[in-house]
């Protein structure tokens, strides 16, 4: 899967979860400060990412931005 494909799929999840416009999500989007996601929102996003990418994401604390999330997904897909 290319980086662009990973980002697009991740963006789809975020747009749906937080009822956003597509252009509100970029790699630099901060999940807490820009989207106002709390810890349970992040749990929900991580669960959906796990389900949609068929991976396991262990820890949420170091995922702050969409870039962080995409990097984690890439890491797990390569494992």
């Amino acid at each position: 899967m290319t980086d662009a494909e990973i980002f697009d799929k991740t963006k789809e999840i975020l747009v749906d979860q937080f009822d956003l416009e597509e252009d509100e999500v970029s790699l630099t989007t901060d999940l807490t400060n820009d989207i106002d996601a709390d810890s349970l929102d992040l749990f929900e996003v991580l669960n959906r990412v796990e389900d949609d990418f068929d991976i396991k994401l262990a820890v949420a604390e170091d995922i702050k931005t969409v870039q962080d999330l995409v990097d984690k997904i890439k890491e797990q897909l390569a494992a």
Partner: protein, 323 residues
């Protein structure tokens, strides 16, 4: 269908209310933080009672509502993770308190799935040779809470509720169920750990009575496994999700309930909640909600309802009833 009738229900909630506001004077938290993440505004705690007191009041109320005599009850199951004692069981204490002289009684430990697990066991007993049983979920979780730990202290409350269930010729009963346990995930939600302190011990494990949970794992478990269990129960019951009038889920967290409703593709209006005023009362929560909804006639004869408990174990249990 196992032809069984829920004859009467009752609940017992302690009088002392502890609001989020009051908790914010005891630990670093606030109402907005707690409510947005859990849906809880307050919880109720005992001040003088213990679990058997709450459970006994439920039993007495059920006897009064149903008019049945205590000596006609065949068995009493109390589902609890916070018994008065390991021996006697809370159910045995209830049996004595209400004079159910012909009933055998035992506690059932399945944490927040306890009410559904209890109903399952009761159904099997009733379909085998018994006629009438009391199933009560009763908890004093306030004695398992570390009141200095804001990650868990805000979540839990005390309470009890139960039902009287009988064999019946009426066209009502248990249509289907699905009970599952995931013991390999058990360490994600723990409470009441005993120390191994005999004089021969080589590996002394510490005493740790308090709740600890891995929030992420518990949230993931609940939002994934409850829809699966409900679907399996519906298939056994040969009923569709649309046919169910109300889904009574364990009242752990409003966000978990709405996430489950969304994953299950059913309107959230079919998933009533009451954790705002009770907090998470573990095995008591479904029964408390059921009794409230019966009292308001929201739930009544002729409906199809689903119960789903989930939590410590980790366990999940779903049932579909025609009432």
């Amino acid at each position: 269908m196992e032809q069984l009738k829920i004859v009467a229900s009752a609940r017992q909630i302690p009088d002392r209310q502890v609001t989020n506001q009051e908790l914010s004077t005891m630990m670093e938290t606030d109402d907005e933080w707690i409510y947005t993440r859990t849906g809880i505004h307050q919880r109720n705690v005992v001040t003088t009672e213990n679990t058997s007191d709450l459970a006994s009041e439920v039993a007495k109320k059920i006897l009064a509502k149903s008019g049945v005599s205590p000596d006609s009850i065949d068995f009493i199951i109390v589902s609890t993770m916070s018994p008065d004692s390991l021996s006697p069981s809370t159910a045995a204490i209830v049996q004595a308190n209400i004079g159910a002289t012909n009933a055998f009684a035992f506690d059932l430990s399945a944490a927040c799935s306890g009410f559904v697990y209890g109903l399952s066991v009761a159904s099997s007993l009733l379909m085998s040779r018994y006629q009438r049983g009391l199933i009560i979920g009763a908890e004093v979780l306030s004695k398992l809470v570390d009141w200095k730990d804001r990650t868990t202290a805000v979540l839990f409350g005390d309470g009890a509720a139960g039902v009287l269930v009988e064999r019946t010729q009426d066209n009502v009963g248990l249509l289907g169920e699905e009970l599952r346990t995931f013991g390999e995930k058990g360490d994600n939600l723990v409470a009441g750990r005993f120390a191994n302190t005999n004089p021969f011990s080589e590996n002394i494990s510490p005493l740790d009575p308090y709740f600890h949970q891995n929030g992420r794992e518990v949230y993931s478990f609940a939002t994934r496994e409850v829809p699966e269990a409900l679907q399996a129960a519906l298939e056994t019951a040969q009923v569709t999700a649309d046919d169910v009038d109300y889904y009574l889920l364990h009242q752990a967290n409003a966000r978990i309930v709405s996430s489950i409703a969304k994953r299950f593709g059913q309107p959230v209006s079919k998933f009533p909640t009451n954790m705002a005023s009770n907090g998470n009362t573990s095995a008591a929560s479904i029964g408390i909600l059921l009794d409230e909804l019966i009292e308001s006639n929201t739930i009544h004869a002729g409906q199809t309802i689903a119960f789903a408990g989930f939590g410590g174990g980790l366990t999940v249990g779903a049932q579909i009833w025609k009432i």
